[in-house]
């Protein structure tokens, strides 16, 4: 009888462990970026240098709130060309860089929590720090901006077990015009793939 009770208790404990409430989701993703608008005009090549860290505290079965931070570096070398401003013309090779660090408070709605395939949608509000460098000759023109930013996101979590999942998502980083150094708003799309750790 004692044995049966123990087995039963252990079984309950196991089920309890498996069914444990999800407290938080933390994800580390590799991020590929595509510039749009003014940034896309400046650098048309996609960026393969990027990473994100996302954390969501689960406050309701479907809802997580937390933060997203990331870093995307865009780079492009221009072949020799001439740039004219007024009476002055400058010819040479240009090396263009755009470093972007989105930092946002985010909320995510999980459509099928607890299931193997769990799609989600989210929105982040915060800032994107942008530093644009245009290198020519031995000089660099550095332009910075702290853009107010919105970051809508759609994605999916594919559970590997109750503690880990593969995450795939698309984020659109819309930074609004800020400061006097960059005359246009800065925006880019990222495709993110990585691991999510569920607690």
């Amino acid at each position: 009888m004692k044995k049966i009770f123990l087995t039963f208790a252990l079984g309950l404990l196991l089920i309890g462990g498996l069914k444990a409430q999800t407290n938080s989701v933390a994800a580390i993703t590799y991020s590929i970026g595509f510039g749009s608008g003014d940034m896309g005009d400046f650098i048309s090549q996609p960026s393969f240098r990027g990473a994100n860290f996302d954390f969501r505290k689960i406050i309701a079965p479907n809802i997580g709130v937390g933060f997203s931070i990331g870093w995307n570096t865009f780079y492009q070398s221009q072949s020799k060309d001439s740039y004219t401003s007024g009476n002055t013309t400058l010819t040479g090779k240009q090396y263009r860089y755009s470093n972007n660090v989105p930092m946002l408070a985010s909320a995510t709605y999980f459509i099928k929590p607890g299931e193997k395939i769990n799609p989600f949608v989210g929105l982040g509000i915060g800032t994107i720090y942008t530093r644009r460098n245009t290198d020519m000759n031995l000089y660099t023109l550095e332009q910075e901006a702290w853009n107010f930013a919105l970051q809508p996101e759609v994605g999916v979590l594919y559970s590997l077990n109750d503690q880990a999942a593969i995450t795939l998502s698309g984020k659109f980083n819309q930074g609004f015009k800020a400061g006097s150094e960059l005359t246009e708003s800065q925006s880019f799309f990222t495709l993110n793939i990585g691991f999510a750790f569920i607690k």
């Binding site: 780079y75 070398s77 001439s82 009476n87 013309t89 010819t91 860089y97 000759n137 031995l138």
Partner: protein, 199 residues
């Protein structure tokens, strides 16, 4: 550590790889000057590269003829294409073309206290704290051409002629003389100045 370092290195975007990638050509002109109505120019047959002052005596240092000739050939060829005729200074030229070449060296000092780096130093593994001091320098070479109307001084209260065209060709200077870098820069300077064309 090596793996991490090489991964970081792989993340760093590229930039200028060859000294000629730093070459830049800048031209500017007086928009009120009527180039089209002129067609004769004169130039010296030597290029000043330095000025030596010794006990108040000033001596010009000239570029070696073999190098200067290449530069003059490139100038004359481009001017001829634009419709200009080379004349002697005594034959009342409309414009004087003054070439000059300067070399400038920039020194910089850097200090790096490598406190966090563990590794193999002097035959032992461990955490060492070697401070690094480096003094580096780079040298740039510039060719400067000006086109000046010798008669414009008559209209100036201080009897001075303003340059109606200035071209600066600048790049990293290296010990070896690369004639194509120089002639390419000269060709670019004239190519980006189509307003120099005469009737």
């Amino acid at each position: 550590m090596i793996v991490v370092t090489s991964m970081m290195w792989g993340c760093y975007p590229g930039g200028a790889e060859f000294v000629e990638d730093t070459d830049a050509v800048l031209t500017t002109f007086d928009s009120k000057f009527d180039f089209a109505s002129k067609n004769k120019y004169a130039r010296p047959d030597k290029i000043v590269v330095d000025v030596e002052i010794d006990n108040g005596d000033t001596t010009y240092v000239y570029m070696k003829d073999v190098f200067a000739q290449t530069i003059f050939d490139a100038i004359d060829e481009n001017m001829e294409e634009l419709g200009w005729t080379l004349v002697d200074i005594s034959e009342e030229p409309d414009l004087l073309l003054n070439p000059a070449a300067i070399k400038s060296t920039t020194y910089f000092y850097s200090y790096w206290y490598d406190w966090w780096y563990g590794g193999w130093y002097g035959g032992y593994w461990g955490w060492y704290y070697p401070p690094y001091y480096t003094i580096s320098s780079y040298t740039t070479g510039s060719l400067i051409f000006t086109l000046v109307d010798p008669n414009a001084g008559e209209d100036s209260p201080i009897n001075q002629s303003q340059a109606s065209w200035v071209a600066v060709m600048n790049g990293l200077y290296v010990g070896t003389y690369n004639v194509s870098r120089v002639t390419t820069a000269i060709d670019d300077a004239f190519e980006q100045s189509p307003y120099l064309k005469t009737n």
